[in-house]
């Protein structure tokens, strides 16, 4: 068996390329297989990704962030993965509870949902949420009762927004983890939420994590976008259409 391309034999130029990219570049091989080190790292990253999907956001964080906790129609993780439709809907009793316990008709309804990475919520929300709330307050926007949703999909914001008659809705949700990072968060926003709103009408900021868009900076960026959404009464492609130059004919 021969080992080729050991890392200490790298050309400087290969190092520079590898350093610019989170992919597993120039890791070498042992015969026709990955090196032991590479295989172990791969398995470890895969384990982290699986944990991100399977674990739950801690009650302590939900409480610390002052979130009102509810659950979708989904009853456990397996059902969550198998039935995306159930992750977008809430039970009639839950809707009733929301109307009783949460502020009605807010300008901005804020939702945190575990999605496919509870790790993303644990890692990013503590820095993102406070600057977001600061900023929305500075802009004079009326923010309703922030909600935490267990087993939530992006479009659960349509159901919650509709039930609470929110002017706009924002969901901070864990992204499907990969092998480069398992802690990436997305922010989806919609103006005039109602069930069945197409994805094209939603605005998104993705790749929020320490190695991407830092959560604290993302919070300030979301403030700007929500302010623009409320100002122009639009979201998604409707919001950016004016900025785009489509070739006609």
């Amino acid at each position: 068996m021969t080992t080729t391309n050991p890392p200490d034999d790298h050309d400087d130029r290969l190092d520079r390329i590898a350093d610019r990219n989170p992919s597993r570049l120039g890791v070498g091989r042992a015969g026709s297989r990955p090196r032991t080190q590479t295989l172990l790292e791969f398995r470890s990253d895969h384990g982290i990704a699986r944990d991100a999907v399977q674990s739950h956001v801690s009650d302590a964080l939900v409480e610390e962030m002052g979130l009102f906790a509810i659950q979708t129609l989904v009853e456990d993780k397996d059902a969550y993965l198998a039935r995306p439709d159930k992750g977008r809907e809430i039970a009639a009793e839950t809707a009733e509870l929301l109307r009783e316990e949460c502020q009605q008709s807010p300008q901005v309804q804020l939702i945190v949902a575990d999605g496919l990475s509870s790790t993303a919520i644990e890692k990013n929300i503590p820095d993102l949420l406070p600057i977001l709330l600061d900023g929305l307050d500075q802009r004079g926007l009326d923010v309703g009762t922030p909600i935490f949703v267990t087993y939530g999909r992006v479009d659960v914001m349509d159901a919650i927004g509709e039930e609470l008659d929110a002017e706009s809705c924002l969901v901070l949700i864990g992204e499907r983890p990969g092998l480069a990072t398992a802690e990436s968060l997305s922010a989806y926003m919609v103006y005039g939420p109602e069930r069945g709103t197409p994805t094209a009408k939603k605005t998104v900021i993705s790749n929020i994590h320490a190695g991407g868009l830092p959560p604290v900076e993302a919070g300030a960026e979301i403030v700007d976008l929500i302010a623009e959404m409320c100002d122009k009464q639009a979201s998604g492609l409707d919001l950016t259409a004016a900025d785009r130059e489509f070739a006609k004919g």
């Binding site: 820095d127 998104v204 604290v216």
Partner: protein, 485 residues
């Protein structure tokens, strides 16, 4: 960041104007603004640079050897831009660079500012031998060549008055080495020596050549002078140790450590002659009424003796002006906090707070007070229109840390800075929008702009243009202004 297709960002029209010792040129380039990656959170960057118009080479008009004819230069440039079909309103960015001996003339500074003002809304004025050297190397393609080949390349830009060397390796500029050696330090007309600038006299004396203005042209003596000058250029590349004469003619200080160089690229007016040095130049070495062809020949021989490879790239004569037009502008990060009423900002002096990573929250106010008092002692902030405070590292990018930074900065500002004078904060980390929002909450009425993902240091100057690419980024130029030094 919001998903926008990478092609969405558009192009910038950039002008480069070089007013040199001997010649003046204009180039117009298109700079493509591109997103570096697919995930959308990477900053925008300038990608392809295409030179759209290369203006003719003009003799730099002078009123006398110490004074550039500003109006005549302005006319030449206006007429070239007209030929190029570019209206000043269509120019997004660019730089006027006053180079070589011209940078030391009495009116270099007003010249540069006037030309910058007349040439478009965000064309900036710059000067300085080190900057010239770097721009020439970038314009010639030496920087890209070093990066692609992974080798160390010395770009030696030799014009009429100065030789500006920038050494590049795969990661960028390593250092600069600049000398008072150039082709127009000696003037020749009608068989007589008509000009012998101070550095040429110094070399002549040191080598006992006894040259003087009015002497009949003696090819052998002038060849000896050219050989001596070429020797100094090579000495500046090989040293230390340096010939005492090299030190005497150096502009700024020379590096204390030798630098291994794989290849040399010669650019500038004399640099181009090295490539074109032929039997014709041999027959009539004074075709340009100066020492240029002889100096080029001597350099070619001297470089060959060093064993370094002499490499030719596509841009030589116009290297500096192309560098000025294509490599001065940087882009900030994509999430910034800007006050549109403040932009464009020009010539803001930079004072750096350095890294704050090791400073506890409770000591931040003291740290910022120190930086602001340095700024107010060095500059009349009201007079210069504000200052830029650079922060290399704010520490942890957490909400609590940024709030502490903002609170401390606001406290220091209210305590030790002139009210209502603009303040700009420049961070290297991606946190401008968050820091801006936190600062705005603490000093509501202050004219404030925060930009990020730029590295600037104390003593440099910063220009910030109006937002481009759908407001996602601002163009910025970091300069080292050394007019008249």
């Amino acid at each position: 960041m919001v998903f926008n297709p990478p092609t969405d960002a558009g192009t910038l029209t950039s002008v480069g104007i070089d007013v040199g010792t001997t010649t003046t040129h204009v180039v117009v380039s298109e700079l493509a603004v591109e997103s570096a990656g697919a995930s959308g959170s990477e900053k925008l960057a300038i990608g392809d640079r295409t030179v759209r118009f290369r203006g003719p080479v003009h003799e730099t008009p002078l009123i006398d050897p110490e004074t550039v004819d500003i109006d005549a230069v302005a006319e030449l440039i206006a007429s070239d831009l007209k030929t190029a079909g570019v209206a000043p309103e269509a120019i997004d960015t660019g730089a006027v660079i006053v180079t070589g001996e011209t940078a030391r003339t009495a009116n270099a500074e007003p010249l540069a500012y006037q030309l910058a003002d007349e040439s478009g809304s965000f064309v900036v004025a710059t000067a300085g031998a080190a900057l010239e050297a770097i721009l020439a190397g970038q314009g010639a393609g030496s920087a890209a060549y070093a990066a692609d080949s992974g080798t160390t390349v010395a770009n030696v830009d030799i014009g009429g008055g100065t030789t500006n060397t920038a050494i590049f390796d795969a990661d960028g500029v390593v250092e600069t080495r600049c000398l008072d050696v150039g082709g127009r330090l000696v003037g020749v007309a009608d068989g007589k020596v008509t000009k012998l600038a101070d550095p040429a006299c110094t070399v002549s004396e040191a080598h006992g050549l006894g040259l003087a203005v009015g002497d009949p042209v003696d090819r052998e003596t002038l060849s000896a002078l050219a050989t001596a000058m070429a020797g100094l250029v090579i000495d500046s590349l090989l040293g230390p140790p340096y010939d005492p004469l090299t030190r005497q003619l150096s502009i700024g200080s020379l590096p204390d450590e030798p630098q291994a160089i794989d290849s040399i690229v010669f650019t500038g007016g004399v640099g181009r002659l090295i490539g074109e040095y032929t039997a014709a130049a041999e027959d009539d070495p004074f075709a340009y009424n100066d020492l240029g062809p002889l100096l080029a020949g001597a350099l070619s021989d001297a470089a060959a003796d060093t064993g370094m490879t002499v490499t030719r790239l596509s841009e030589d004569l116009r290297a500096t002006v192309i560098g000025a037009g294509t490599h001065t502008t940087q882009l900030s990060g994509r999430t910034v906090f800007i006050d549109l009423d403040l932009l464009p900002l020009r010539n803001l002096p930079v004072v750096s707070a350095g890294s704050l990573a090791d400073i506890d929250d409770s000591d931040l106010t003291a740290a910022f007070s120190t930086v602001l008092s340095q700024a107010t002692q060095r500059y009349d902030v009201r007079d210069v229109g504000g200052v830029a405070i650079a922060i290399d590292d704010v520490g942890d990018l957490s909400y609590d840390r940024l709030r502490a930074v903002a609170a401390s900065f606001a406290a220091a500002l209210q305590d030790g800075y002139s009210a209502s004078v603009p303040i700009v904060v420049v961070t290297e980390q991606n946190c401008a929008k968050a820091l801006g929002q936190l600062l705005r909450a603490r000093c509501a009425d202050w004219p404030l702009t925060v930009i990020d993902e730029l590295a600037v240091s104390t003593g440099s100057y910063l220009d910030i243009g109006e937002p481009i690419a759908h407001g996602e980024t601002v163009p910025a130029v970091v300069k080292t202004l050394v007019f008249g030094s």
